[in-house]
């Protein structure tokens, strides 16, 4: 049985080898499973942007982009299978969209020499490019997010947080635990009281956590949720009549899918973001003519303009810009993963660039360097308007508390370097 299956599978793999395009990108997406509601818009945005580049510009620098999609279901085992099955095709950069899979791929991709871009997720201390040469997490990371939330709360409270109670409702996994250390450090600095409320995967059961919130009455609740957990948390918050403008989610807890089920009750819910929202951008006109009207939109094509679609598109845009940078640096159009890494390390996003791409003011300006793979940590707060059904930014982009985060990144990456026996240094 084993043999016959193996032979069959071998045949399938042989037949599967696609026509080699010059530039291959991968999307480890998840359109199934408990996190599909959030995985689908991101994957659609990512795919559509590359389709747009292929259709409108003939690819990047004249090279068509071949996007290989692989379904992970947010499952680490399938993530490994996806990585191994696509890495042979010369994929330039991996974007796993899962902190668990990112952790797993960091050593593997480093050994194989393929860059990873974990945009706003993954291992935060990968910001230190001297220790993690192949991993990038610009433009912002979870520790930035934690700081953004606290800064925003401090603003609301007139600058003084002493004696205030802040609760963190988090996905009980590597992802949800990321902000804890930062929030603890910030608590020392600002004098608020932090309570931690873990929610187990997949997060459909949160009655006890919200009962505790109802009893303890924290002044603010911060949430690190994903997938179905977000919807349930917001619904529960509505149920206990928690004031929505004091409920702040990380950027992964701020999509339309998360707030719509709670209806009007979710009005005023806040979420962080590191890019702009809505579809009021020239690039959407191009997407409509070159992708949607031609019937080439990914998935069902109904996600355009949602928060996570924009984020997927933003990720694709940053990848495309890194490819351009790499092409300029190497003088070749068909770049290798190693050249891609150099391109990412020298990526610079300016307002002029974004405007030229039809995305004026879409994200913060930043510049990547060897010492800083994580951008400058700019983010903003968005608020949900249930009547209009839209997210809108209520603050400008502001920087996270580098005074607190800088030493934390230094400490954690040094610990990793010691554990893994890495000599820190720029490539």
């Amino acid at each position: 049985m084993k043999k016959t299956l193996a032979t069959l599978a071998l045949g399938a793999v042989m037949a599967a080898a696609p026509a080699m395009a010059e530039i291959t990108m991968s999307a480890l997406s998840y359109r199934t499973g408990p996190y599909a509601a959030n995985g689908i818009p991101f994957a659609d945005g990512y795919a559509d942007y590359f389709t747009l580049l292929n259709e409108r510009d003939g690819g990047v620098g004249g090279e068509k982009i071949n996007l290989v999609e692989c379904e992970t279901g947010y499952n680490t085992e399938k993530g490994v299978e996806c990585y191994e099955s696509t890495k042979g095709e010369g994929v330039l950069v991996y974007q796993p969209l899962s902190t668990g899979i990112t952790y797993q791929l960091i050593p593997k991709a480093t050994a194989d020499g393929i860059p990873i871009h974990s945009m706003g997720y993954g291992r935060t201390s990968a910001k230190n490019g001297a220790v993690f040469p192949w991993v990038f997490n610009y433009p912002a990371n979870y520790w930035d997010g934690a700081s953004h939330a606290i800064t925003h709360i401090a603003e609301q409270e007139g600058g003084d947080l002493t004696g205030k109670k802040v609760a963190l409702v988090y996905h009980n996994s590597a992802y949800g635990k990321e902000p804890i250390r930062t929030l603890e450090k910030l608590a020392e600095k600002h004098g608020y009281e932090l309570s931690l409320l873990p929610v187990d995967h997949p997060g459909q059961e949160q009655k006890s956590q919200w009962l505790q919130i109802r009893r303890d009455r924290p002044d603010y609740v911060i949430m690190w949720g994903w997938g179905v957990m977000n919807q349930v948390a917001i619904q529960e918050a509505v149920n206990i009549r928690f004031p929505m403008d004091k409920f702040i989610g990380i950027w992964w807890s701020g999509s339309e899918n998360d707030v719509l089920p709670a209806g009007d009750g979710a009005n005023g819910y806040k979420a962080l973001t590191f890019h702009n929202l809505g579809k009021d951008y020239p690039v959407y006109a191009d997407l409509q003519t070159h992708v949607v009207d031609k019937g080439m939109a990914a998935g069902a094509g109904d996600q355009l303009g949602t928060a996570l679609y924009n984020r997927g598109m933003y990720a694709a845009m940053l990848a495309a810009e890194a490819i351009k940078t790499a092409q300029e640096m190497s003088g070749e159009t068909a770049i290798t993963p190693a050249q891609m890494r150099d391109g990412m390390e020298n990526l610079e996003i300016t307002e002029a660039k974004m405007e030229a791409l039809g995305l004026p003011g879409f994200g913060p300006e930043f510049k990547v360097s060897c010492e800083n793979h994580g951008g400058d940590g700019y983010g903003a707060v968005a608020q949900w308007d249930a009547a209009a059904g839209t997210w809108s930014l209520i603050t400008d982009y502001y920087q996270s508390d580098q005074e607190v985060i800088g030493p934390l990144v230094e400490e954690d990456s040094a610990a990793f370097a010691a554990e893994a026996g890495i000599e820190a240094g720029c490539m």
Binding site: A6, E71, Q104, H201, G299
Partner: protein, 358 residues
Amino acid sequence: MLYREAGDFKTSYADDNQTFPIRFDRWRYYAVLVIAFGIVPFIINDYWVSAVFLPFLIYAIAAIGLNILTGYCGQVSLGTGGFMAVGAYACYKLMTAFPDINIFFHVILAGGVTAGVGILFGLPSLRIKGFYLAVATLAAQFFLVWLFNRVPWFYNNSASGQISAPERTVFGIEVTGANTEAWASYLFCLVFVVILAWLARNLTRGTVGRKWMAIRDMDIAAEIIGVNPLTAKLSAFAVSSFFIGIAGALFFAVYLGAVEVGEVFGINKSFLVLFMVIIGGLGSIFGSFAGAAFLVLLPVLLKNILVGTLGWPTDLAAHLEFMIVGALIIIFLIAEPHGLAQLWRVAKEKLRLWPFPH
């Protein structure tokens, strides 16, 4: 014609009791070993190891472990995921605390630790049976996962709560960590599979195994003829957990390299291994392999055919995969409630008579 006892004379008790009484089976067995040790390591690449061979081998160990408990001793367990987590975390703690000791021993010790935990959670089996025991082991599953998430000591206080396998070598060759060669991790797991399968086979046909089966078939009768239920049941829990612990340790250290307990060792894992045992065949070592192969290889094969060859959208393929695997499970269980192992047995019976069935 080839597959028959005739002409294969047994002249000693040892011969008479051998695992493969038919010559053809013996040769087939040796041939599989030669291929697995002598040929496969030279031709496999990263994809085959990570997507096919490692999960198959490791799940086979876990399935054998659960089969000992459920198939041979009749004690239903839903705690497999939790016990695999014990193996993984024990291995992690040992690897980081004693970096100079060979990883081989760490894996075995991790199995030993899991055996101890298994005995502890096996104690209720002395008083409760069947579905009630299943619920008690379910408690073990949830408790253990919660424990490893809750107590930072288990993950060495890392910020994310993830455990990552450091690089370790056997005879100077890396078997864990990112720079491991495909063949090295394959052979490392294969050695464990062969030793453990051999051990399981010999345990189950000796005194210990007969006691387990007596308890399974009718515990009161077994007690009357002198089988001590305490030692029989707890030894089944210990041996089963030992196997499952080793599977968990390999799963973490060799296969995944980084693990998050809730996601990797959740209740789904317990069900998956239980399904392997049921589909493969309760009370059969071969069945454990067949069940593991069925549930590991089939999804990968379907994915490669649907997405790779036919070029279907990945989400459609993923949904279809669930439906096809689910339908096949139902069809198999209706056609042969005793699992793939029974199909294999029937096939062998037919082969013996072939080509003259009357």
